[in-house]
């Protein structure tokens, strides 16, 4: 999310190397024991590194962009990159067997590229072709590939191991990368990175003021949201159990409470009826 327009190949290599190192040394790393975060030591360090980079580079750039760019231009820029992304989103929907969604994505791209003037206007949304959110990591998840734990990618931010390994595929499928002219390609990379960061302005204030531990909150948030997206799901309705926390008589208190909480925790993970097992949930690295 805080991608900088550095050379693409070297970034990929760096990410790949980091993944390899971390995966190899992962078993030796000890964290505070969160089952989905065996690499907590590394992740915390990388999280704070990314924050430093963001504070020094991306955030100021995004603020400048926000300040000098008229609102309609910003919307147009967002639409333009969103339109390019719809191609790969459609392919992923197809790979996941969601033909209807894939057709809708194709329709969006055709319509917005023509009537929407090269994607500057999102006319497809106006006529009810909804924008989707897919990537290769979600496709792998849908196919049953486990998450493999939480992983903070240098410069890019929170991912899971599975989604990190899927990144090179997403990069390859990025139409911006197909541009032959290196200069304009890099300009597009840069503008997109700054625009993406602009859409998140204000988040760090919320994280700063609204959480006790930014790292933990961001991690738990990312993982929950990611599972929800992988299954295109709806949140569970198993909250009734929680009443037990408030009303259990003292005698049966411990059992009731922990049972309720456990069920809730499970419910939180089980964001959609699970067609496929999540090896990552149970595997203990």
């Amino acid at each position: 999310m805080t991608a900088t327009p550095v050379d693409r190949t070297s970034r990929l290599q760096r990410v790949g190397a980091t993944v390899a190192i971390v995966v190899l040394t992962g078993c030796a790393t000890t964290g505070s024991g969160h089952p989905d975060d065996p690499l907590e030591g590394y992740n915390r360090a990388m999280f704070s590194f990314n924050e430093t980079v963001d504070k020094a580079v991306m955030k100021p750039l995004a603020q400048g962009y926000d300040y000098v760019t008229p609102k309609p231009v910003k919307v147009g820029i967002g639409n333009f990159f969103g339109n390019l992304a719809d191609v790969w989103i459609g392919v992923n929907n197809l790979l996941q067997g969601k033909v209807r969604d894939a057709l809708s994505d194709a329709g969006r791209f055709l319509l917005n590229t023509t009537v929407g003037l090269a994607g500057l206007f999102d006319v497809a949304s106006d006529i009810g072709l909804e924008k989707h959110d897919e990537d290769f990591g979600q496709t792998l998840g849908k196919w049953g590939v486990g998450e493999g734990g939480y992983f903070v990618v240098p410069f890019l931010g929170p991912r899971t191991i599975r989604d990190t390994l899927a990144l090179p595929v997403d990069f390859k499928a990025d139409p911006v990368g197909w541009l032959q002219d290196v200069a304009s390609r890099n300009v597009l990379y840069g503008v997109r990175a700054v625009h993406d960061r602009y859409t998140l302005l204000g988040v760090e204030k919320t994280l700063e003021e609204g959480t006790l531990d930014k790292y933990t909150y961001a991690r738990d948030y990312y993982l929950q949201q990611r599972r929800y997206r992988v299954f295109d799901g709806r949140p569970p309705r198993a909250r009734g159990d929680d009443a037990a926390i408030l009303t259990a008589p003292d005698a049966s208190l411990e059992a009731t409470t922990s049972a309720a909480v456990q069920r809730l925790d499970l419910a939180a993970l089980d964001l959609a009826p699970r067609a496929v097992a999540f090896p990552g949930d149970t595997a203990n690295p």
Binding site: M1, S32, H34, V75, G78, N79, G82, D122, S125, E130, K131, H132, D133, G157, P158, T199, L200, L201, G202, V203, K205, T206, L207, E209, G210, T211, L212, D213, T216, Y217, A218, R219, D220, Y221, Y222, Q224, Q225, R227, Y228, R229, G233, R234, P235, R237, R239, G240, D242, I245, L246, A248, L253, E254, T257, S258, V261, L264, A268, L271
Partner: protein, 204 residues
């Protein structure tokens, strides 16, 4: 982490209805519309006046939330280990934290539109999920759902779920961490310190 903004942004609109027996979906819709109408006309809030946003939230939104249940949900299994005075302090501190966070988010509101989904519930249900969808041009819509429970004082919101993430239970990890390290009192102290640090809703 993506779309945290919109997330926090809209978590707050689960609100209002003067009639205690208003239907839960009507309650959410009326409070949301009410609050957004005010924000759209309030230049101070739009330019980041958090104090003013907090006043708005306290007047319009707060009465429709069940903060005791929210706090219990956020604390999780350690809740029953807290003494009644500790529970009160926790509720108080968590409430301030949430109100401040949501008020901040409200200052970020611009031109998103909100779709209210049909309520899927039986007339005698006492626990329902009201579903909404926030749309913004050029972005994927974000689902924001509100869990409400019927009480003697009308329907009360006890959870807000944004894009599949419960804004309440998402605190559980960091709260448990804090309790493990320094007990219930440690958690109360941390929350109070956080609130003190950002008290007053300084202009951003």
């Amino acid at each position: 982490m993506k779309r945290l903004i919109s997330i926090f942004l809209f978590s707050l609109f689960a609100q209002l209805a003067l009639a205690a027996d208003a239907a839960p979906d009507a309650l959410v819709r009326d409070v949301t519309n009410d609050v957004l109408t005010i924000v759209r006309q309030d230049k101070a809030i739009q330019s980041g006046d958090t104090r003013k946003a907090i006043d708005l939230v306290e007047a319009k939104v707060l009465p429709h939330f069940d903060f005791k249940r929210m706090t219990a949900l956020a604390v999780g299994r350690d809740w029953r280990q807290a003494s009644p005075p500790q529970q009160d302090q926790l509720i108080d501190a968590f409430k301030s934290l949430l109100v401040r966070t949501y008020s901040n988010a409200l200052t970020q509101y611009r031109d998103q539109t909100i779709d209210f989904k049909p309520l899927r519930a039986q007339p005698d249900d006492t626990d329902v999920l009201v579903r909404t969808e926030v749309k913004q041009s050029g972005a994927r819509p974000v689902q924001i759902d509100y869990s409400l429970e019927k009480s003697a004082a009308g329907w009360k919101v006890y959870d807000v779920i944004v894009g599949g993430v419960s804004l309440v239970t998402n605190y559980r990890g960091s709260f448990a961490q804090e309790i493990k390290a320094s007990g219930i009192d440690g958690l109360i102290k941390s929350l109070q310190a956080k609130n003190k640090e950002f008290a007053g809703g300084a202009k951003s």
